[in-house]
């Protein structure tokens, strides 16, 4: 049996021998035996350190509130993939892969905070002053301020403010929370002054702030959030695979299914005749000249 590594790399994350698996110098089995939690192990994995008790509590809280979010793009992705009954792992992979630029805790919010903190440091501004610069630069350019607003929790994300409070309760209010709180304060004030509706902080704004203050780099934070959601999406996929009907189109179900034909609304070009090959050259030439097709190009 071949037991070589599947890829040749110098790595500082882990090694594995016939005797043990070692991550950042710690024998994994010893780490578990000693009573450390899985969230402790996340600090070892991404930060090469054992966290303080409060830091571990913060991560446990953040991952706990983020894990389940009912129907979001991630769960919908998992359920959609499950309809074809592939291996369970494909549904999970799909759910994690939905985390792109706008869904979930992208690294961008963390990088945004770092960028403006660096500017404050270089320009001799206070955190509060740079928070106002940040908000103004985004809003003046018509851009959404990252970390603010959630399309479903329009009355303030139920996870976000409690994360802020937990961070403060645990004494973990570092420079990132100071920046985030300041930008929220200024953001709310500016919107109110402009007569616009209240938009609360979302779980990215609050959660990423906490993760940054406990030492996770933006990409590590993104990984923690998006992969964590994979757990609950697996549950949603399993529910559909075990209790639902494959294909999600059965007419025998009392409720119209997700992929029932009647769910399809078509708004494209009118039905039309397929041109004969003998007519093709002229047809194609006319179609291109008329240019009507351009409005459908995506």
């Amino acid at each position: 049996m071949q037991r070589r590594a599947d890829i040749e790399r110098k790595t500082s994350i882990s090694y594995k021998t016939e005797e043990k698996t070692v991550m950042r110098g710690y024998n994994l089995s010893d780490l578990a035996e000693e009573g450390y939690s899985f969230t402790d192990a996340m600090f070892v994995l991404f930060q090469n350190r054992i966290p303080a008790k409060e830091e571990e509590k913060m991560l446990r809280y953040e991952m706990g509130v983020f894990l389940e979010h009912s129907m979001s793009p991630s769960a919908a992705g998992a359920i959609g993939v499950a309809a074809g009954r592939p291996n369970l792992t494909s549904t999970i992979a799909a759910s994690i892969s939905t985390f792109g630029g706008v869904h979930g805790p992208g690294a961008a919010h963390g990088y945004m905070m770092k960028k403006y903190l660096r500017r404050a440091h270089e320009e001799g501004k206070t955190v509060e002053e740079i928070a106002e610069v940040l908000v103004d630069e985004y809003m003046d350019n018509g851009l959404p301020v990252m970390g603010m607003g959630q399309p479903q929790h329009t009355d303030s994300d139920p996870r976000a403010e409690p994360i802020h409070l937990k961070q403060e309760e645990l004494g973990l209010n570092g420079v990132y929370l100071r920046l985030q709180r300041a930008l929220e304060k200024y953001f709310h004030a500016r919107r109110k002054k402009e007569g616009r509706d209240y938009v609360g902080v979302n779980v990215v704004g609050a959660g990423n702030t906490a993760l940054c203050d406990i030492g996770f780099a933006p990409n590590a934070a993104w990984c923690i959030g998006s992969v964590c959601r994979g757990f609950s999406c697996a549950a949603h996929a399993l529910f559909n695979m075990k209790r639902g009907r494959a294909w999600a189109a059965s007419k025998r179900e009392p409720m119209v299914q997700m992929l029932d034909l009647s769910m399809i609304k078509y708004v494209g070009p009118e039905d039309r005749i397929v041109p004969k090959q003998s007519e093709r050259a002229e047809y194609a030439k006319n179609q291109k000249e008329e240019g009507e097709y351009k409005k459908w190009v995506i």
């Binding site: 043990k20 698996t21 939905t98």
Partner: protein, 349 residues
């Protein structure tokens, strides 16, 4: 929509062929009307719901769960089992997940790093890494369902744990999903996990069955074998109440965190790969020798059609084609007996 008629549609390819069981030209265009006789589609879930104000999993508000001091691993019991775990069960799950987190440069890390080289999102690499947990590397489903089914069937037939374990070993001694192998003869981690489950009082009938399987396998095997990580994790997770599928999902996702770290390190320490950059030296190639491409005008003389018209010829071709690695002819997939149900029973060789 739907205003094209049959008269518009005559004479397209084979679609007027009388061999068709229907008149293609008369088939309707247009979308299907909304079905008003049944309830409209809704996302249906027994796992969780949310509204503007709350996120609720199995009846518990998730923010309230965290405020009460529960953690991420507790939510796994809530989501997959609709229950609050005991402190010991939660400790044991944490233990298992720590052991599942990292495995060096094995498939999930390798997949993540290869995806990383293409310059894509971290999440795509993490997602791809989950695919590495197939039915050999991540055989939790096959392992767990065998224990579940054989324990249930054995009990119904009046067999004790010893006899059930013997039956499992007799049928599966060299199966990659037995949970017993020569992989951890020098690494005590799997045995320590079983001991920890016992100390925490969460070991149950599956740990008992697994222990018996190890004994029987050791007696039956010509070479040294012992419980491996699949056997330890799989049995403990079953005793914690997780189904084989939930175990599979949880442990594959757990590794995906580490795959994220490998993605990051790959970006930090290695270079992106450009299209066409990677070479494969001839020393790695054992296919046909280099040969001239025949002129297109001589196609018929050089072509070897695949068509077979009698079963002897077909059977001969099936065998011959096995010599073409990558053709798929050497892979056999066993199909379920259609009198039971349809579908692929197993994948791979």
């Amino acid at each position: 929509m739907g205003d094209l008629g049959p008269e518009d549609k005559k004479g397209i390819g084979n679609l007027d062929d009388p061999g068709l069981p229907f008149n293609y030209a008369e088939r309707e265009y247009g979308t299907v009307s909304m079905d008003e006789t049944r309830a409209r589609f809704q996302w249906t879930s027994e796992v969780a719901y949310k509204n503007v104000h709350r996120i609720v999993a199995r009846g518990y508000d998730t923010t309230e769960l965290m405020e009460e001091g529960y953690g991420m691993t507790d939510v796994l019991f809530v989501d997959f089992q609709a229950r609050i775990a005991s402190v010991e069960e939660d400790q044991m799950l944490n233990y298992v997940m720590i052991m599942a987190l990292e495995d060096g440069l094995s498939a999930p890390a390798a997949v993540s790093r290869l995806v990383a080289q293409s310059k894509t999102f971290l999440t795509q690499a993490c997602g791809a890494s989950v695919h590495a947990f197939g039915h050999a590397y991540g055989a939790y489903s096959a392992f767990g369902n065998r224990l579940l089914d054989d324990l249930t069937a054995g009990r119904e037939n009046g067999l004790d744990i010893d006899a059930i374990a013997q039956g499992i070993v007799d049928d599966n001694l060299n199966d990659e999903s037995l949970g017993v192998s020569d992989l951890m003869l020098q690494d005590p981690a799997a045995k320590r996990m079983i001991e920890r489950a016992r100390k925490l009082g969460v070991a149950g009938e599956y740990v008992e069955l697994m222990t018996a399987i190890v004994e029987k396998a050791q007696a039956a095997s010509d070479t040294p074998v012992d419980i491996d990580m699949l056997g330890a994790m799989g049995a403990v997770m079953l005793d914690l109440g997780f189904t084989p599928e939930a175990t599979w999902a949880i442990l594959a996702v757990t590794r995906s965190f580490a795959a994220g770290a490998h993605f990051i390190e790959e970006i930090e320490r290695a270079e992106y790969r450009r299209l066409g950059q990677v070479l494969t030296p001839p020393e790695m190639y054992d296919g046909p020798s280099d040969r001239p491409v025949p002129p297109l005008s001589e196609r018929e003389a050089n072509a070897k059609p695949a068509l077979t018209t009698d079963l002897d010829e077909w059977a001969k071709q099936e065998e011959e084609r096995k010599s073409v690695w990558g053709s798929g002819y050497s892979i056999h997939e066993e199909i379920e007996d259609p009198s039971k149900k349809t579908g692929v029973k197993s994948v791979g060789k």
